[in-house]
Subunit: 254 residues, 2 copies
């Protein structure tokens, strides 16, 4: 029997520790092919490259695993993999990450990691995005690896509903402190942006975007609650953005 | 009484004919401030600029209208406007576009125009994204202007549900052929990508992303159906991406 084919991508770039951790887990379950950005592409959302060319550099790891570093965004990587680099083979699973930093709540909308997973779902591939709530290059992925393995095992055995992928976030704690996995909804939150205004050496103004996360949601069924209570949060994410509940209301406008 | 404050942005850039058409309409209803990318930023999705600096260039139109050309993405423009450039004034309405090309169906996920509108909704501003199904710089916006005015008028009078903005697409036909406005759901569709593979002068491979739109949806309540039948399509769009219907199913995984 053929081993399952697992496509691995991310948004922090092909050299990030998080993708190395995820490759290690994925190789326990199948043949892994890596297609990831050749540089950090955080916060690229669902951007694609239509006004510039794309480059791909192939390399082969010691165990024979093929890796492709792509000049584009995370979504470009998925499109290139599926339509060009995999030579017509359809992955049995796409895993994206492990992202450095939170993709919980509204971060899902800015996240390149999750956009790669959503693009996988759009292509009909069961897809999961993983993130660890730790930005450091020295982040400890040992807990993430244990729970990523559990979820990958499930995803290879059980069907993924059509039009849905998973947004998985790991709390930044020792593995033994993780209480388990919680299926959640996306917490209602946004970012209170701050622009750090500076002067360049010529005296002209420029800005750095920064900000503070604001959680408005007191529910105990949210991803933020789960993470604050040391659970792994799993939010099923869909790409039908229609606000079905408000269709009737807007009929009163026209 | 103060005139309403209307923030205008887009993704085709501050010089695009589409944003000029939208400014003209918006000025019938209120004071307009323009904050838009200084170059085309199509297909940027919900990307934000966190690894580079942002620049803003201000100009003042003949009628005194303030315009800001920003080096960032459409979402950066909205964040900069709300948190810096408007000096604490909150817009009564955000309008984005008129985009050149379709943002119907799954295009909503790639669209910088719609991401600006979604970001407005995230900031609690009633927000509408407009697109015309014509990529040409010579596109005729006369029909778009009539129906954009109708919707802007409604949006200034009636409440926008929390967490919802509108994705409006105009069919590319003469104004008198437009049959009216239809409230729709997002059609199920995706893109069949094609990568145009070429060699550079040094013989190295590069790619251009292209593709064909595939509509899988035969419903008559979709935006694609409305546009094919010469209606203006209006889809209420939400940024809660949780697939609420599948929460129960995934509880069987853990």
């Amino acid at each position: 029997m053929n081993k399952p084919l697992i496509l691995v991508c991310n948004d922090d770039g092909i050299t990030a520790p998080g993708i190395r951790a995820l490759i290690e887990v994925a190789e326990q379950f199948g043949e892994v092919i890596v297609v990831a950005p050749d540089k950090p592409q955080s916060a690229m959302g669902h951007a694609i490259t239509i006004n510039a060319t794309l480059r791909v550099h192939e390399s082969i790891a010691e165990n024979g695993r093929r890796e492709y570093a792509c000049s584009g965004t995370p979504v470009d990587c998925v499109k290139l993999a599926v339509n060009k680099l995999l030579n017509g083979r359809k992955p049995d699973l796409l895993v994206s990450g492990v992202n450095h930093g939170s993709n919980a709540s509204i971060n899902v909308i800015y996240s390149g990691t999750m956009s790669a997973a959503v693009e996988g779902a759009l292509e009909g591939i069961p897809s999961i995005g993983f993130s660890l709530l730790n930005f450091s290059i020295d982040a400890d992925f040992s807990g993430s690896k244990i729970y990523a393995a559990k979820l990958i095992e499930q995803a290879l055995q059980k069907p993924m509903p059509e039009g849905v992928c998973l947004n998985v976030n790991f709390p930044n704690v020792e593995p033994e402190l993780i209480k388990g996995i919680k299926i959640c909804r996306q917490a209602k939150a946004n970012w209170d942006e701050q622009f750090d205004e500076r002067k360049d050496p010529s005296g002209r103004t420029y800005y750095w975007l920064t900000g503070n996360f604001r959680n408005f949601d007191t529910g105990t069924d949210t991803d933020i609650w789960a993470l604050e209570n040391n659970f792994v949060s799993v939010v099923p994410v869909q790409f039908d953005f229609t606000a079905h509940k408000s269709l009737d209301y807007f009929n009163s406008w026209v």
